[in-house]
């Protein structure tokens, strides 16, 4: 087996390192460290020209990798252990690679690992890194095939190949018929990395979510964006309360809204980050739209969990009255309180009902009571006792939005008013760069809804009672201290915010055009190109046609005669071509004067003017330079006009 050259191993190591580096963000630290160690070791061996480690040692190391994976994941199946195993395998493979075959296998493995990285992240930095990794892998393949060469020419050759492949890649990317995955069942942990709201709520959950500055979704309004007080994005609606946690009640679903949309309409485009849930976080209250599901708790739902960035054209009708004819069972559910919890709050509720007289006045009374109680809005409330609502309202008086919402709902129910907790997002920021409203995880919020006879479900935000700026100015404005806020959500660093806005805008285009390129977008694109029928047949035909054009271009490029020659040569060979077509080809070895002389003898009628052209050519081609420009012009002119008979 021929051993590999130093430059070949160098390229291979560079490609593998570029491939493995981004995986460090999610691999168990032990595996990452082991991979790094193995790469450095192989680099050291390459530098020193020493021998590769003994096979026995590699077996031990491989056992180590398997053990580390098992220790971390307790299994081999699934995405994460699989990737971890592959990463270890690639690093180990490099350590035993000393033949062309092994090196090429390693390159294939690293292509696969680059794809693996996309399961975790697909942002621009990762894409750039993957491009760099592909470049290094192509450089590796070039080095494996060719002679030893310096870095610069090899890199130039690899870059040339990449550039030449770009048109084909674009055509395939845009026109390859996209199918909405998955084709088969995914491992259970396929989407474990996504964060956001969950199906139930315990005290502290929302606060935890809002510690992240990650973007939850973006909304681009066609007209002016709605005022902050309207920006309520509905997530899970929680009706069932067991004293500790809140859960959604039973809900009916249909493909039409459970209400008649009315009032002002706000059309917008929602670009939702994947959160692996069904709910779509539409702004209250979404109008009819195709292909979506409506819950009787006024949520907008998708049929599949949102596993990819999703782009929806929606219309919000904030002033729509909802729940006028609510199902009595739902109302019963919305009044239920678990026995034995929060006695003081229940007492407060009964007290409020007695004071109000009319049910319609109870919520306002409660809000006033909350405000008078001087409840503090904080991300880090003091620990609460078993009766956490009681504890919040009467003892610690510190809480985050979920505490406010939960306390308000319990109070309402005790007062006999049907009420429930709604989680979702509130607010968001307009990015001045592209005008989209960006809603982050830190905008996660919980509020309450009460049901009043003849008015239906009404939104009540008890947080607003003690921290009105939460609604108008976002979390950062409402909280007294900014210490625990994510850096990018802080408002005291304007340049940082400007930078963040810019990055967000670029990211948004990236998401829209690259990551969010789905079957629908593809169809829109094809339709915009003027192809009415956007079925897969016409798509395939279009793709095949475009590929044929690109490949035809490549073929022309490959066939282009890279022959030396200048205008004089071209003119002369044109003359010779025309004579050959007329049946008097020039022998390859025949000089111009001999050719003209032969033709003058053999076929004097065919080309009487050839003698002059040939003499001019001989003079220009072989004579002293620079030649007479008049002669040059005469030659070009007469050779252009030359037509043998």
């Amino acid at each position: 087996m021929p051993s590999l050259r130093r430059d070949q191993v160098g390229w291979l190591l560079a490609g593998s390192a570029l491939t493995l580096a981004p995986h460090a963000s999610h691999l168990p630290p032990a595996i990452s460290a082991l991979c790094a160690l193995l790469l450095v070791w192989r680099g050291f061996i390459n530098q020193r020209g020493s021998r590769l480690p003994h096979r026995g040692l590699l077996v031990v190391l491989a056992a180590g990798v398997v053990g580390a994976v098992l220790l971390e994941f307790h299994q081999f199946f699934g995405k994460e252990p699989g990737i971890a195993l592959l990463a270890g395998l690639l690093s180990l493979k490099l350590l035993e690679t000393d033949s062309l075959r092994d090196a090429r296998a390693a390159v294939l493995l690293s292509f696969f690992m680059q794809l693996g990285q996309f399961l975790y992240q697909q942002n621009m930095a990762i894409a750039a890194l993957a491009l760099l990794g592909t470049f290094a892998s192509i450089g590796t393949l070039l080095a494996l095939q060719g002679r030893a060469e310096a870095f610069a020419p090899r890199a130039a050759a690899a870059a040339r190949l990449l550039l030449q492949a770009l048109p084909l890649m674009l055509v395939l990317f845009l026109l390859f018929p996209r199918v909405q995955g998955p084709l088969w069942g995914l491992p259970a942990d396929a989407y474990s990395a996504v964060s956001g709201l969950s199906d139930d709520m315990r005290p502290g959950d929302i606060a935890r979510v809002s510690e992240s500055a990650a973007i939850a979704f973006r909304a681009a309004f066609e007209g002016d964006p709605p005022p902050p007080a309207e920006r309520y994005w509905r997530g899970p609606v929680l009706t069932r309360f067991d004293g500790r946690s809140w859960r959604p009640g039973p809900s009916r679903r249909q493909d039409q809204p459970f209400y008649r949309s009315s009032g002002i309409a706000r059309p917008y485009t929602l670009t939702l980050e994947p959160h692996n849930q069904h709910w779509l976080l539409a702004m209250d209250f979404p109008g009819p739209a195709d292909g979506l599901v409506y819950g009787d708790d006024f949520r907008l739902l998708s049929r599949e969990p949102v596993r990819n960035r999703l782009r929806l054209e929606l219309v919000a009708h904030p002033a729509t009255p909802v729940g006028l004819a609510e199902d009595p069972r739902t109302l019963r559910e919305a009044l239920a309180l678990p026995p034995g919890f929060n006695p003081r709050t229940r007492a407060l509720g009964e007290q409020l009902r007695a004071a109000a007289g009319r049910a319609d006045d109870i919520p306002a009374l409660a809000i006033r009571h909350f405000r008078d109680s001087r409840l503090a809005y904080t991300l880090a409330p003091a620990p609460l006792s078993r009766n956490d609502v009681d504890s919040f309202l009467f003892d610690t008086k510190q809480g985050f939005c979920e505490h406010f919402a939960a306390a308000f709902v319990v109070t309402m129910r005790a007062a006999g008013v049907p009420a429930r907790v709604v989680t979702g997002y509130q607010g968001g920021e307009i990015n001045p760069v592209d005008g989209t409203l960006v809603v982050r995880q830190s905008d996660a919020h919980a509020w309450a809804e009460v049901w009043l006879e003849a008015r239906g479900w009404l939104r009540v935000d008890p947080t607003a009672a003690s921290a009105p700026r939460r609604i108008d100015g976002g979390l950062a404005a409402a909280l007294p201290d900014m210490a625990r806020l994510p850096l990018l959500a802080r408002s005291d660093l304007p340049w940082l915010r400007a930078l963040r806005d810019r990055v967000d805008a670029v990211n948004n285009s990236w998401n829209q055009w690259v990551l969010g390129y789905n079957p629908a977008r593809q169809q829109a694109l094809v339709a915009s190109l003027g192809f009415g029928d956007t079925g897969w047949q016409s798509l395939t035909a279009l793709m095949a046609g475009s590929c044929a054009v690109v490949m035809g271009g490549l073929t022309l490029w490959a066939l282009r005669r890279m022959r030396p020659g200048d205008a004089i040569d071209r003119s002369w060979s044109r003359v010779c071509r025309r004579l050959a077509a007329a049946g008097h080809p020039r022998h390859a070895w025949e000089g111009p004067l001999d050719y003209a002389g032969r033709l003058a003898r053999e076929a004097p009628e065919a080309a009487p003017e050839l003698a002059l052209i040939a003499a001019d050519y001989a003079r220009l081609r072989y004579g002293p330079t620079p030649a007479d420009t008049a002669l040059l012009q005469r030659f070009h002119h007469s050779s252009r006009k030359f037509r043998p008979r």
Binding site: W589, P592, L593, R619, R621, Y622, G623, P624, T625
Partner: protein
Amino acid sequence: MPSRIARRLTDAASRIILGKDHAVRLALACILARGHLLIEDIPGVGKTTLAHVLARLLGLQFQRIQFTSDMLPADIIGVSVFDQRDASFRFHPGPAFAQLLLADEINRATPKAQSALLEAMEERQISAEGQTWRLPEPFFVIATQNPADQIGTFPLPESQLDRFLMRISLGYPDRAAERALLAGEDRRELVAHLPTELQPGELDSLFEAARHIHVGPRLLDYVQALLEHSRAGAGFSLGLSPRAGLGLLAAARAWALLGGRDHVLPEDVQAVLPAVAGHRLRATGDTPLGPDALARRLVEAVPLP
């Protein structure tokens, strides 16, 4: 005008050597390229006359040696004789000390005598008894030789052949030329009364002009391709030496001068190729090829660049 002088020379020579325009022109080109000429043919076709004519026309001091099998090197280059009066050797220059030396039937001499002449041709000087004598300037050798298959001959080895820039043959005259030959005056008489065509210094200006004929890069490419093919291509078992390449170029320059051009064309190279390369190439295979067939084989295998 060097080209006009050259034209005058060829015309004058052709008036005496009838029907041999091409050979005469090649011989003249060989002289203008300052190369030695080997004429190979059967006796009596006018080899000697050609040499005479050239010497007369160019106004060169002429010497003739008839080579024989008992000839010794000293018969050519001269000999040192011990002079008893002053007890020292005195060098008596041989016939080689001439501007144009006709070495008749060179292959009749033994290799030793041949090599004495050929060394003189190459070095343009003669060394004997530890002393060196320069040969006159210019110095040309026109050697004639009988075809190799004649008996009692010592064919020149390849290394010696390489010293001749050209090898040409005259062949029988055609019918018209033969008639004119038969009907006309005695050639020898004509030669004896042939006036010198050149003014003093004109020969030098011709040499100078031939040396300065333009050779472009494209032509050098072509010559190189010819040389490479002769060395590596099929059909040749002995290729052209670098010296042959230089000679080819010099001969092509002289040929272009005779053609009245100031630059060399591939045609010029092809025209002189049989004479320049014919005695240097050897074909593979069982049948020996004549110089024309050899040169054609080479020319047709190499496309113009």
